[in-house]
Chain length 226, copies 2
DNA sequence: AGGTTGCCTTAACAATTTCATAACCCGGCA
DNA sequence: TGCCGGGTTATGAAATTGTTAAGGCAACCT
């Protein structure tokens, strides 16, 4: 399949893991690159522009979470998929990882099968997301084509920015979006607006929906949760 | 499939051109893919089956003319539209291009506007299917063959533009049409008319129909809703 | 040809809606 | 208590859209 010409970047400081993961992924037809620490990962990410980045949480130079945050704050990597590799020991890392904008995580010791299936799953999920898909979560529906939000079938009128913001959050339920990411995607990275502006829009959405589906993650950002 | 979700494949070895063209086309609602050389273009063409292919004449691997010839020799790409991008220098290429089976050409440096208008023009020329389907929603009927609108059986006289506009909206109830899309489909993208023009026509339709079936989505466009 | 009619576009102004901010409130925490 | 991050609210400016009237133009009729 042509769809397998996706580029994947793997960052880990253990050569063994790098090798085994790279081998398995490339055998599936992916175009694999590797990085051996945080800085290396950032550099390679910029030059290669991968579709998916697999980041070890614990790495020299910069750890996975830091790398992720840096990437996510850049518009070019808004859409890039990110998977964390976590050692079993640091349990909190998993949560923290997803909160920082990762799309999934895999805990060590790594099972190639598990990793592969997660990778494939992520791509499958993304590929059918040409912005024309209706997002439907519980009793909430978001239709980007009709530009319409309904809750229990009853239409809710949202303004443009409100809609875009909600759509962005709901597109990846549970994932936290940094304030920067939100600004970049909804407002455009060249526009400069105050921080309170986001709050106000969040508020209006919460108010209009009547359902509390947007969770604040203090010091980080917002996420959609129902 | 949306009639406007036409798939376009762009092949050029200069990333800048690829990016700017892709951006402009996707903003018009097209589904855009890119290829960076001749072989890539052939592969992508086979897997994606685009409706239109934009080929740079000078590319690595295989040049545009070669790609075109190969494509044209296959039944599957008999109908596919092809546009060449030519550098000013090779004047002969233009002729050669058209002779090889291209439908049009655009010379570099590329003006997004020119390219867009040619793309739209090609699609309009092809799409000419007279849509003989009668649209019937609730007590409203739109007959493109008779060029007639009736409401509860009573005929309503609409002018040409009014009719086309209503027909476009009603063909996909609920879906929002951007002002740009409306301009392209009803007016033709090479025509330059003020923004208020659309409003005025919308108003006349609303007025003549007497029923409020067109909803304004501020900052976005209009949609048919009953 | 001269006159009539209806369509299309614009300009100008009114009405609406959206949006960004400032100012203030509140709770958690050191 | 004082600070920090976030929630609320009110408000005016800015962006969009609605409305109306008027003129150009082409088709049609006599």
């Amino acid at each position: 399949m042509e769809s397998n010409s996706k580029k994947i970047l793997i960052a880990d400081d253990e050569p063994d893991i790098l090798e085994i993961v790279a081998y398995n992924l490339s055998r599936e037809g992916y175009q694999v690159s590797t990085a051996k620490d945080g800085d290396d990962a950032l550099a390679k990410a910029k030059s290669i522009k991968p579709d998916l980045i697999i980041l070890d949480i614990m790495m020299p130079k910069k750890n996975g979470v830091q790398v992720c945050e840096i990437l996510r704050s850049q518009p070019a990597f808004n859409q890039t998929l990110i998977i964390f590799l976590t050692a079993l020991s640091d349990e909190n890392s998993e949560v923290k990882g997803l909160e920082t904008g990762a799309d999934d995580y895999v805990s060590k010791p790594i099972s190639p099968k598990v990793l592969l299936s997660k990778v494939n799953a992520l791509f499958r999920r993304i590929i059918k997301e040409p912005d024309s898909t209706v997002i439907s979560i519980a009793n909430l529906e978001i239709d980007p084509v009709k530009f319409e939000v309904t809750i229990d079938g009853n239409p809710v009128m949202l303004a443009k920015k409100e809609f875009e913001l909600l759509h962005m959050l709901a597109a990846k339920p549970g994932r936290v979006f940094l304030r920067n990411e939100i600004l970049n995607q909804v407002w455009g990275n060249d526009v400069i607006v105050g921080d309170r502006t986001i709050d106000v829009h969040i508020r209006k959405i919460r108010q209009k929906l009547g359902v509390d589906c947007i969770t604040t993650v203090k010091g980080v950002g917002y996420k959609f949760d129902l």
